[in-house]
């Protein structure tokens, strides 16, 4: 065994240039495949992260059926001990309670439909960075009796700080929830869907307004590592019985999951095309290398080398070759991808403006994770191994007499 390995290794370095050319083609294949995949998965991570920290959070807890019905009647009792328990689950960084509902909001003779959210101001800020979105007035306090309103909605209603708006909606168990409240702050969201609908109250005040004392509709949970979501979900689910629903972001935003899936399907097809191109490149190189050595093979066989031994050695050679290429590709990619992960490629010009308008950072993000490397490592290796089968059949069919005359 050792002899074969040694022989294969030495053969490889007999013609350095040939070996380098062949492993270079594998090397670049690995880099391209890695770049493409990392860019794609990076954009999904970014989308998920941006959407999650924009509003929903990674995990939400509601009373059963709330998510389907969105009715304040499906709210739940807020229990501090429960929140503490969730907080102590590993990887959970934040739990914030909300009382969410839809109501009409009027000022002067303009009425709009708004999404009214009662929040814990400090926790909400930690989660969605709400304070930074404040453009005028002041941020809500825990006992505030005013509203904080999205800038787009404020413009539609033509209101300014200090004006009083009328909220009119349905409270707990069908109670009419109506009140005149003062506008204390204006927040600006980049996403039009939020900017035209969001109205924030303090949790305290909203519970009073909707006649739902000590009740919330939602507990929104943030975690520190996106990939630990299943673990955290299981742990949090354990804390609640069947009267509650514990949902992950993928259930809360099925559209996001589906659009990622669609895009991913397209991405995998493109990756497949890249593999075909790469595969032919590698195969071509292996083929030429084999053809070059026809004479050598012929001589070896005619002086008594068994064909299977020869095949074995050349298979080992291809294996070494693939390993060198793949490993070198991965070693070089690690710093590149790591750099790109830390410093995403910035977009400029019109494109950047459009992305900003939709609330996205104008960047091309990358993912740096072990799974990408492992996947590409295995795929390219498999392609290289398939190409390595060529010399086997070539040697099997070799006619030593003819081969020596080459």
């Amino acid at each position: 065994m050792k002899t074969y390995l040694q022989l294969a290794w030495r053969n490889l370095w007999r013609n350095k240039r040939r070996t380098l050319i062949a492993s270079a083609s594998i090397f670049f294949a690995v880099i391209f495949a890695l770049l493409m995949r990392s860019m794609q998965e990076g954009s999904y991570d970014y989308m998920v992260d941006a959407s999650v920290s924009m509003y929903t959070g990674y995990i939400q807890v509601h009373a059963k059926e709330y998510w389907d019905k969105r009715s304040i009647d499906k709210s739940m009792e807020l229990s501090l001990t429960r929140i503490d328990k969730i907080d102590s689950v590993k990887h959970v960084t934040l739990v914030t309670p909300r009382l969410e509902s839809f109501s009409l909001i009027s000022y002067g003779n303009v009425t709009k439909v708004a999404s009214i959210v009662g929040i814990h101001p400090e926790l909400e800020n930690k989660m969605t960075d709400l304070k930074n979105k404040l453009i005028s007035g002041k941020y809500l306090t825990e006992k505030a009796r005013g509203v904080m309103i999205a800038e787009g909605l404020a413009t539609l209603l033509k209101i300014e700080i200090g004006d009083s708006v009328v909220l009119y909606g349905q409270g707990y168990h069908g109670v009419t929830a109506a009140a005149q409240v003062e506008v204390e702050g204006i927040v600006k969201f980049t996403l039009p869907a939020l900017n035209k609908t969001m109205v924030y109250l303090s949790l305290d005040y909203s519970q009073w307004l909707y006649a739902a004392p000590n009740r919330v509709t939602t507990l929104s949970i943030m975690i520190d590592e996106a990939k630990k979501i299943n673990e955290v979900h299981a742990a949090v689910s354990n804390l609640f019985d069947e009267k509650y629903e514990v949902m992950m972001w993928s259930e809360l935003m099925p559209e996001l999951v589906q659009s990622i899936e669609v895009d991913n399907a397209g991405g995998i097809i493109m990756l497949g095309i890249l593999y075909v191109v790469i595969g032919f490149g590698i195969f071509g190189t292996v083929m030429m290398m084999t053809a070059e050595r026809t004479r050598e093979f012929g001589i070896l066989i005619s002086i008594g080398m068994k064909k299977w031994r020869l095949s074995y050695v050349s298979f080992l050679e291809s294996l070494f070759l693939s390993f060198i290429g793949v490993l070198a590709g991965i070693i070089v990619s690690i710093p590149i991808l790591y750099y790109l992960k830390q410093n995403p490629i910035p977009l400029t010009g019109e494109m950047a403006d459009v992305m900003l308008k939709f609330g996205l950072d104008p960047i091309i993000p990358f993912r740096f994770a072990a799974n990408i490397f492992v996947d590409q490592f295995l795929t390219v290796l498999v392609i290289a191994m398939i190409s390595a089968l060529y010399p086997l059949s070539y040697i099997r069919k070799l006619n030593p007499v003819k081969a020596m005359k080459k």
């Binding site: 009425t111 191109v277 032919f280 071509g284 083929m287």
Partner: protein, 405 residues
Amino acid sequence: MLLNLAWKNIWRNKKRSLIIITAITLGLWSGLFSVAVMIGSWDTTVNSTIDRNLSHIQIHTKEFKDESLTSHYIPDGNKLADEISNLKEVKDVTARVLIEGMASSPNSSRGVNIIGVDPSREKNVTTIADYITQGEYFNGIKRNPILVGEKLADKLGLKLRSKLVLSFQSIDTTLTYAAFRIVGIYKTESSMFDGSNVFVRKSDLYKTMNSDPIVNEIAIRLNSSEDLDSTLTILKENYSSLVVETWKDLAPELEMMYEFLIIEMQIFLAIIMAALLFGITNTMLMSVLDRVREFGVLIAVGMKRVRVFFLIMIETILLSLFGGIIGMVLGTFTIWYFSDKGIDLSLFSEGLSAWGMPTILYPILPLYFYGVLTIMIVVTGILAAIYPSIKTIKLRPADAIRTYG
């Protein structure tokens, strides 16, 4: 002469050349086709958005654009709509009343856009009538019929013939409630649209609000989308006090999607080309190393090094172009075949529908992509040729002649 020589050289080692040509062909063929599929899917999305509710051109008042209030109606809107429908480019026109309101069921309530239409005219402009999955298009319920999307019906827990209460601000700014009964449930490609739009007869709205027949939006469908710009100019001139917009202005995200797509596709093609580049370089390098002796002889008998350099260059470019052209021809043919027949994507239909994408798509490729591709191929060929060509001209003929490959 060089060209001839290069072409013959390519075919001296058929197997080797064929492998790299196949790689180029396959790469371009599949690359082209997938680009066409992506662009085709965008195009189909645009068409279905136009058909569903946007139509080609819409007219609003400026105040309505800013504040979306029903009280900002188009003066003499119905008369204006009739005027426009007489234009020869126009297929038909629908004049709508738009109200933002809340839809409430006994279970829950949701913000919705209430769209008041004239059912017979609306049918000529948009295809909403074709999307009805249960019930009928404004037929079967006499008093206050309403069409709702499947998603909204689900969220509110409503069925066909269920009652639903719309509350909204009437034109005189008072809050108004009215009960409607579901006459039909529709499902379009876009679940977002289905969740937030309800259709009612505008005559019912006038009665509820006690108002004159007002109009907030005039949606215009043209006979052909080619008349878009010319009609836009005419309308803009005639109704300069109003805001006249095409679907491009109304749905800017579609334009953004397109820009993104084009960038993404170009990156994709560039990566494929780069992968091909290394394949081609490897092949040519092997080929050059095989022929060291031959080049030595050529130079020794007096062939200029520059000519040898160009010989390799031309060989490489010919090789790339040959594969490239086959790939493009095959790609064009495949695109042409499927652009007629369509590709059924019902497998992914759930995900596509969230984005308002239809499930059968027709690939298309803008003409200029062929130009971009040809340039990309030639550039790839040249880049791939540089290293092997330089290797050749650095040969020392005396040594080269004695090299036995």
